[in-house]
């Protein structure tokens, strides 16, 4: 029975945890979908799921809260909530500190016998070409009135090349959640207080125009008294229909996550995502694009930083008199879309666009009519 409860939590994690890695400015979205969940030796089960996510940020802070609820026909249900906060010392800083708390309840409708609370802290260097992070997490799980604790430390690096981004990470996990791990095929060779194992993950992401693909492979290897030799492949694809709607499909195996109390399962899921806010962007034409530009004067000229809050699967560009109005693609960072452009002294006009849509002036700049039915932002570099 316990693995059944775990399964629901797993699907929730698939849907809700993925956006926690990035923050952008003011977004509220909902998702609804269906999933088929299977564990070794058990019949595949169907489940329905709904979730909501809200995030907001400014120059220094970005926050995220989300909630998700999963329901299966025989009343196996799970609920999960996530709150996360990221901070950086300045708008130009590539360093940022992230922290968050997650809470989950397993089987809250009828079985009502489990829950998990976890937290994490991570220091990240986020550059347009890639990044590096180091962090740690701790989780407390209660199941059938038995408590267990898990901790993890992880390091990783990512490299971005054109439309591709790849990341490598290593995590060392220690957990005394014996039931969860034994159900997942992780055993103790001898009497020991906890399981110890390493996870090595390589992930590849491809993103172009309306399509985003993610593939990850994880290898788990037992340490000390723990016997574990597992691997899991997971893939997901997102297609953006409009600025409002996108569809996400995912399939693969997820290894048990002891820190968050999530079991080892194989999942196939499909969900429809709808963005509620921004229903209209800050731009006066209501393009749904929230873009900000800042100019930091330097010894010679200035650094123009353009940031745009747009979906991960969208294609974001900036252009202006500095580029002869040739579009310059923005790069995806942990905080949204960003371009850094060195400008000499002078006056410039610029605009941003998403998915080949109309060019719009960044929200915080002075705007002038462009004689083509739109607006351009203007900046002056001393």
């Amino acid at each position: 029975m316990i693995p059944r409860k775990f399964a629901c939590g797993c699907v929730v994690a698939v849907i809700a945890l993925s956006p926690a890695r990035s923050q952008s400015v003011h977004e509220l979205r909902v998702e609804g979908g269906t999933a088929q969940i299977r564990q070794d030796g058990r019949t595949a089960r169907n489940a329905g799921l709904v979730s909501a996510l809200a995030r907001a940020g400014d120059d220094h802070f970005a926050g995220l809260v989300s909630g998700a609820f999963t329901y299966a026909g025989d009343s196996m249900t799970a609920g999960q909530a996530i709150a996360a906060l990221a901070w950086r010392p300045s708008m130009q800083s590539a360093w940022q500190t992230e922290g968050g708390v997650t809470g989950a309840a397993f089987g809250i409708y009828q079985l009502g016998r489990g829950g998990n609370v976890s937290s994490y802290l991570r220091q990240r260097l986020a550059l347009p070409e890639g990044g590096f992070w180091v962090g740690g997490a701790a989780g407390h799980t209660t199941r059938d009135e038995i408590s267990s604790h898990s901790t993890a430390v992880d390091v990783g690096l990512s490299v971005r090349l054109g439309d591709f981004e790849t990341s490598f990470s290593w995590a060392r996990v220690r957990s005394d959640d014996i039931k969860l791990l034994e159900a997942a095929g992780v055993f103790l060779l001898r009497d020991a207080p906890a399981h110890d194992f390493d996870d090595r993950t390589i992930a590849l992401q491809y993103q172009r125009a309306r399509v985003k693909l993610d593939v990850s492979k994880t290898w788990r290897e037992g340490q000390r008294a723990t016997l574990a030799n597992q691997s899991a492949l997971f893939a997901s694809a997102e297609y953006t229909f409009t600025q409002r709607f996108s569809a996400v499909v995912a399939a693969g195996r997820q290894l048990a996550d002891a820190v968050r109390g999530v079991p080892d399962v194989q999942v196939v899921s499909a969900a429809l995502r709808m963005v509620l806010v921004p229903w209209r962007g800050l731009d006066e034409e209501g393009a749904g694009v929230i873009a900000y530009a800042s100019v930091t004067p330097g010894a010679e000229g200035a650094l123009l930083i353009v940031k745009v809050a747009a979906g991960e699967s969208q294609r974001v560009q900036v252009a202006g008199t500095f580029s002869g109005w040739e579009p310059v693609p923005l790069k995806r960072t942990s905080e949204g879309w960003e371009a850094r452009i060195v400008l000499g002294s002078g006056r410039y006009r610029l605009g941003v666009r998403v998915d080949e849509g109309p060019w719009r002036a960044p929200a915080n700049l002075g705007k002038v009519r462009d004689e083509f039915g739109g607006t351009s932002g203007i900046i002056v570099v001393p």
Partner: protein, 214 residues
């Protein structure tokens, strides 16, 4: 031919060669316009402007902006014609020696509603140096919601006190921040302007200004 005349001729030829070189550079950018009809129209407009002594670089930039924004050939032509007209007016107001940057900045200022007299006053206030940055800040302030007359008076006052380019752009950025926080643009300009004024030396007694301090 005296030495002075030779020198004058050399200067004229060099100036002509530089202008021709700039125009040639703009013509080479015509290849960026893929539509044949639009390219021909833009080429014709650039040629006409060049023959009238109007800088072609801002016109080419306007054409490329129109192409990037998928504007029709007609709209691009109208926008270029309007810009050329404003630049010619700016040339009348700023003088024949005005630089390309000054003319483009002056045309921008006129497009957002700055009074023509303001351009002439700004030139008079600084007859021997470029006022492109001042015109750019003035345009930026108006684009941020400050009334053209209020913005003009403030920029002229700051020019009269030899405010630096960094101070002028900082003023504009500070106003932007205040407006974003909910302050009325003109109130923000008054407050920020006073702040900068307090850091500047008293106005010079001479009619013309000293070179702007670096």
């Amino acid at each position: 031919m005296t030495r002075l005349r030779k020198l004058a001729l050399a200067v004229v030829l060099l100036t002509g060669a530089t202008a021709a070189s700039a125009a040639a550079q703009d013509y080479s950018r015509l290849a960026l316009i893929r539509d044949d009809v639009t390219r021909d129209v833009v080429r014709g407009l650039l040629g006409g402007a060049f023959s009238r002594g109007v800088p072609t670089e801002p016109l080419m930039a306007k054409a490329l902006e129109g192409v990037a924004k998928k504007a029709s050939t007609t709209k691009i032509r109208d926008a270029m014609n309007a810009l050329e007209k404003r630049m010619r007016r700016a040339q009348d107001l700023l003088g024949k020696d005005a630089s390309v940057d000054e003319l483009a900045a002056g045309a921008d200022a006129l497009s957002v509603g700055v009074n023509e007299k303001t351009l002439a006053r700004m030139r008079k206030a600084a007859p021997r140096r470029s006022i492109a940055l001042e015109l750019g800040v003035l345009t930026e302030l108006v684009a941020r919601g400050v009334g053209p007359s209020k913005a003009s008076e403030m920029v002229l006052s700051l020019m009269g006190r030899n405010a630096t380019g960094v101070q002028l752009t900082a003023l504009s950025n500070d106003v932007q921040g205040d407006v974003a926080a909910g302050l009325n643009p003109e109130v923000a300009l008054t407050l920020r302007g006073k702040g900068i004024m307090s850091l500047l030396p008293p106005p010079p007694s001479a009619n013309t200004l000293q070179p702007r301090p670096k």
